[in-house]
Symmetry: C2
């Protein structure tokens, strides 16, 4: 186990009707909020009215910024930053899924920075301060409701880039599983894929002696796998949604990577897919992860065999751990398929013509590597993308 | 799953040499610290000098209060409160195990309260403010380094009583597994018993649909069971201590009871044992828990069978879940024995003459109950104590 520092300050407010507490929570930070959301779904569902009423009842004024799209865009973040400055905003309130929350985090960092917010995503500058962010989560997936992460897409060149900073842990996040009942099944599946990916990125590590976090990650994976299948049968299953919603937060709140180094190559590779082709992040991950695994499982067959045995209930073969490992990868693919997710680039409609470009962008023209479990250069990424073309 | 609010602000600073950061951390809260510890062990080990040097280097002055004993006493807490007031203390720094930390928490609450601190333990008053507490943990056991709990013993009548308050989450806790290398084996065993008890108190619940937390608790239990056995073989096993030290914190930092109601009867019953007989808390728990289980496992055989199968690797018998459940209890007893812990009152030297008194004190003369999984009156507690007399 490696030395580590862990502190996650997000206040989790979990359960039925908890969105009614948003006004009281927001009022702790000031009297003026930027209410940031996506499209009309929170109006149709009645959530918008509940939030507005709760804010008003607590004496909190708000400025609205709707329009967040999946793979949230830099231009809207810049607009939010202007609004924060013009209106003296005290808190950015995200009502939505990971895209809305990430967009809010970008705004929160940019509002207190004199330069251009994209500087944080290119590494030109590091955030030194941020407005507080609060969230009401409607889509269990990204884990951004209690994470240090923020991923924004720059439309000029379609660069999708992450920033990590402890400054953007949300101060509070309201999680009511009922808010997820109306999600389309494909989006449910993509969310589960994203959660599982956050767990697998942490799981595949070279750090030795990490039994506790191994087992905690496995526990969370098993819970997600079990309960998302129940949700696909009945999208109004509160109990199953509770497990997935809370599991999605635990998967990404940094507890499960204490003392270990995660991989994150699959996320980096997927960012090129969804940056260029605007595919759903979870669908990109279900294509990239099996290919990534097939490309490098021999790097640590024991870890892949443990994954297969403990998470997927594969009978561990002492005679051939490799067989065990490969069966685990197959079960993962079967699981993705059972949710209606793609496992090949072909299913995403991605042909061969830009694979080389994506591999290049991912590795800055082969000058950097992605991943920690195995460090991958451009040729490795290209090989993984080629493995992902078809089964 | 029940609705819940969860926020644990403790900053965990984990790993080799991390005690050297104590000065910098303490300085965030002010320039005057109450340095609270037990006996001479931290002087012998050199830890005292490291802490003193780190504080001095950071420009932090300190007042010392040594003398904390196991089952920390009210009189010393009162002395600490006087010191805090006299010296304008900004932070109570606990260097030691759960007793030192609990004593520090008592001091921190009492220092900002006009009345007598024992009011918080009798329920006469609720804490409204507390000085910040920081810790350097030397004994993985109580979990107090990142918990809301504080247990103090009033020598006038030997009442051992708990308080829970979010105000006393330590602001920071420094966990260096190396600091535990010199613990005597009996104390290692008692610590493991305490950690396991925190997990079992949370595990045995009537709340339905708690798969994630069930699995996270099981993961932590398995890790503790595995690694404490390794430590008994080699008390300088850094890797095994890392798992147990971090596991001991995770066991009691309230993440694992999110959305579920724990039991805590065994802790309440044990408090009477250690209050009257001053036995080690972990040794009291290894006596009480199996008896508590035998008394009421029929209340929910499935939960006990799950415990047996998932934690203790008992083959689940679909023909007799009860047999599975009982085998789990037996494995727990065997585990305690393998660590050299008592499993009967006789082994603790406790005879029959005060069982009735303890059952009475525990239930306030049968006017209140203990436990949530099954609510136990005086007669129930007496039956459990009688079951604990011998095997």
């Amino acid at each position: 186990m490696e030395n580590f520092i862990f502190q996650n300050p997000t206040k989790i407010i979990f359960g039925k009707d908890m969105e009614r507490q948003v006004g009281a929570e927001a009022a702790r930070y000031g009297k003026k909020v930027l209410l940031h959301y996506g499209g009309g779904s929170i109006k149709q569902s009645g959530l918008y009215d509940k939030v507005a009423n709760s804010l008003k009842a607590a004496g909190v004024d708000y400025v609205e910024l709707p329009g967040v799209k999946p793979n949230p865009r830099l231009s809207l973040v810049r607009e939010g930053i202007r609004l924060c400055r013009d209106h003296g905003i005290a808190l950015v309130l995200a009502v939505g899924g990971g895209s809305v929350i990430d967009s809010s985090k970008g705004i929160a960092m940019g509002a207190l920075y004199e330069g251009d917010v994209w500087d944080f995503f290119t590494g030109k500058a590091e955030p030194q301060a941020a407005l507080p962010v609060g969230t009401i989560l409607t889509i269990p997936a990204a884990g951004s409701e209690s994470s240090t992460g923020c991923v924004i897409t720059n439309e000029e060149g379609w660069y999708k880039r992450p920033v990590n900073s402890e400054l953007i842990y949300p101060r509070f996040s309201i999680l009511n599983p009922e808010l997820a009942f109306t999600l389309p099944k494909y989006q449910i599946a993509c969310g589960a894929s994203d959660i599982l990916a956050h767990l697998m990125e942490r799981y595949f590590t070279n750090t030795l002696h990490v039994e506790l976090t191994d087992r905690l990650i496995e526990a969370t994976m098993k819970t997600i796998i079990h309960n998302v299948s129940a949700i696909m049968e009945n999208p109004s299953d509160y109990d199953a949604w509770s497990e997935v919603m809370w599991g999605g937060t635990v998967a990404h709140n940094n507890l499960l990577n204490t003392g270990r180094v995660g991989d994150w190559a699959s996320h980096d590779i997927e960012h090129e897919l969804s940056g260029i082709y605007d595919v759903a992040h979870g669908a990109g991950l279900s294509v990239v992860f099996p290919a990534w695994m097939k490309y490098l499982y021999r790097h640590d067959i024991n870890r892949f065999a443990q994954f297969a045995a403990r998470v997927w209930n594969v009978d561990y073969s002492v005679w051939s751990p490799e067989e065990t490992a490969l069966l685990g990868i197959k079960r993962l693919e079967d699981f993705y398929r059972s949710l209606g997710l793609p496992v090949t680039l072909a299913e995403l409609g991605i042909t061969d013509d830009r694979l080389d470009e994506m591999a290049g962008k991912c590795t800055n023209s082969d000058t950097t590597t992605v991943g920690n479990f195995v460090k991958l250069g451009k040729a490795d990424v290209l090989s993984i993308l080629k493995l992902a073309r078809k089964q």
